[in-house]
Subunit: 420 residues, 2 copies
Amino acid sequence: MIIRDYMDNIGRKSVLASSKLKSLSTESKNKILISIARKIRADKNIIILANEEDVKLAREKGAADPMINRLILDENKIENIAKSVEAIAELPDPVGKILFKTERPNGLLINKISVPLGVIGIIYESRPNVTVDASVLCIKAGNACILRGGSESYNSNLSLAKAINSAIIESEVDENIIQFVETTDRAAVDYMLRDMVDHIDVIIPRGGKGLVKKVQDLAKVPVIGHLDGICHIYVNNSADLDTAIKIIHNAKLRRTEICGAVETLLIDEEYAKNNLPKIISDLMDANCEVRGDADSMKIDNRIIPAKIEDWSTEYLDSIISVKLVKDVYGAIDHIAKYGSGHTESIISENNEIANEFLRLVDSAIVMHNASTQFADGGEFGLGAEIGIATGRLHARGPVGLEALTTYKYIVKGSGQIRSQ
Amino acid sequence: MIIRDYMDNIGRKSVLASSKLKSLSTESKNKILISIARKIRADKNIIILANEEDVKLAREKGAADPMINRLILDENKIENIAKSVEAIAELPDPVGKILFKTERPNGLLINKISVPLGVIGIIYESRPNVTVDASVLCIKAGNACILRGGSESYNSNLSLAKAINSAIIESEVDENIIQFVETTDRAAVDYMLRDMVDHIDVIIPRGGKGLVKKVQDLAKVPVIGHLDGICHIYVNNSADLDTAIKIIHNAKLRRTEICGAVETLLIDEEYAKNNLPKIISDLMDANCEVRGDADSMKIDNRIIPAKIEDWSTEYLDSIISVKLVKDVYGAIDHIAKYGSGHTESIISENNEIANEFLRLVDSAIVMHNASTQFADGGEFGLGAEIGIATGRLHARGPVGLEALTTYKYIVKGSGQIRSQ
């Protein structure tokens, strides 16, 4: 297979399919989604068989348990995938919303209306459910989608993509609105990133840091996503200790592998003297390793010395780093220097200081007295998300249906011409 | 001067200045603007002298008249620049707007708030007023700005930048919020585009196609802007002839050099038989050259044959191309193939057909019975604009203050943790 020809063909078909999908009604789009949920349920045995093949290959290659867990599809997981498709069908259509309207003195009526983005490329690994989640969010927002999954879940992804495509055909819509790249050749990814500017409007990477970094480095096509989730919690002098312990425990340990997990704790010096050992004890009781700066080690000698790299490390594990700061501005400075712009939280009973933190910390999500693990579109009431963005353009924070649209201006006149 | 060191230093100072500017109140930002307007008026003789130097050099190099006209600053133009600064001070602050708010069942209060983008790079040529327009729009939206003007207006730009910087210092704000690149070495542009990803959040090019193409090809930093304005008018069978003639005349000839000028006319075959000669006569009476396809030439032998390249040419001159189409879908197909996604207009007395055109043409601006020359932020009631974008991400159509912001989510809790 010549990758260039194969991918160009996919690209051309996507652009064509996208132009048809753009004009589908909400009802037609939801019908496709319902049909996809039905077909996934109907095909569950085929999907499980394909998945078993991937799991067997992964085990033979000696894949680690967390990877195997992300990979496995059982009846229960497939039912959850089907249910999440139905849930997205229930969400309001993000297309056709009037974002702004005005009538000009010359009588021109101007409407700013949300429209689909066009063609979206998804490059992902490990979790086969992304095949469905991404397809369905794209269809709901009127976008064609090119899916490139990882080789470790190739058979599972392909079986899910086939279910999706046959559901689309049953709905009498161009099946090319969703195209799965049927090769594990890495040249296909490089080609998508560098050479498909005319066919793909935006690429969304889903996966580990290695994948995202490659996407960001190579891409000529615009990318929405995030590389690191180096999230901070700052404990202010005014913090309630029980609240602090409870939030830090949850933010670090509820799930250590997600991007919203906290990695670094910043604590006011004064507050640390009395309270740091209690916070550390709680974490160590749950087998969390604690690394800290020299000042923190003077207060609690159970702390292991942190290296300079620790401040910019996303552990994604039961490890946390601790640093003492003079005040809220010390915390803000540290976050500006080492943060990744994802999510930061302040624990404080002083609202004035909390507001200063919320105002000055320039991350996608800033929180007061809440766990950073709430960083999730669903938890924000925004519906399903395709990821979290830490870039500053187009979409920031949870990337849901709205981020998969753009807009156009519709101007209605009655013969107006512009004067000199 | 080592360009890398010089530009890195500018970049670092911009990021620092940006973090201070982000937290300035509306009142403080407007005070800077008023002070800039005052200083520009006070410095008008210095600015005119600097400009005379540029004009002299341009004449010596044999620059064409339109270029000289764009370059010249007289007392009247300087007064208009100062007035436009004051007008931007009057506009509402785009920062701090609540874009979405919700209270979750668990009591979390979620606010999505507009915030400044950060550091904006402007790469421009010819028109020295861009130095002021861009600076002032950036300050109003809380952004630091790095200005790189063309060598042909170097002295004018520098004198305006000096007026801006001294007004900022008088306002006791970090003058580095606006930095003018004081070299005409082209390596500085290349460095901005490729190597300042960590210092510049977005680059906005202002100038001719050569400049914009270079920016789009080289940039690793995200770019907002447009390359071509190949705008179309489609005349439907139901069009009122007087309206059609009046709008086409205005859309082509009011100003031929702007991106919103129409370049191609698409006309229903039936309609053309009776009416094309009248439309052509009106254009030819105003010395407009008309190039057309074979079908149009059969109807009117004054039409010169169009080549295939004509359909994708932005003339920016008194030239128009004409093509006959079967119906509205023929027009939509032609626009999808050759358009640049800028602005297209339908002339029609049939609202159903007009709505089909407005729905299916996927350009930043679509119009009904109005001149494409209205494609302008000011004409849309959006206030001053920094350009028009034809990309699909972040900003589309007129790029005003809103496009110079992003947002963050502020989450207020009372100790909430996320359950398993």
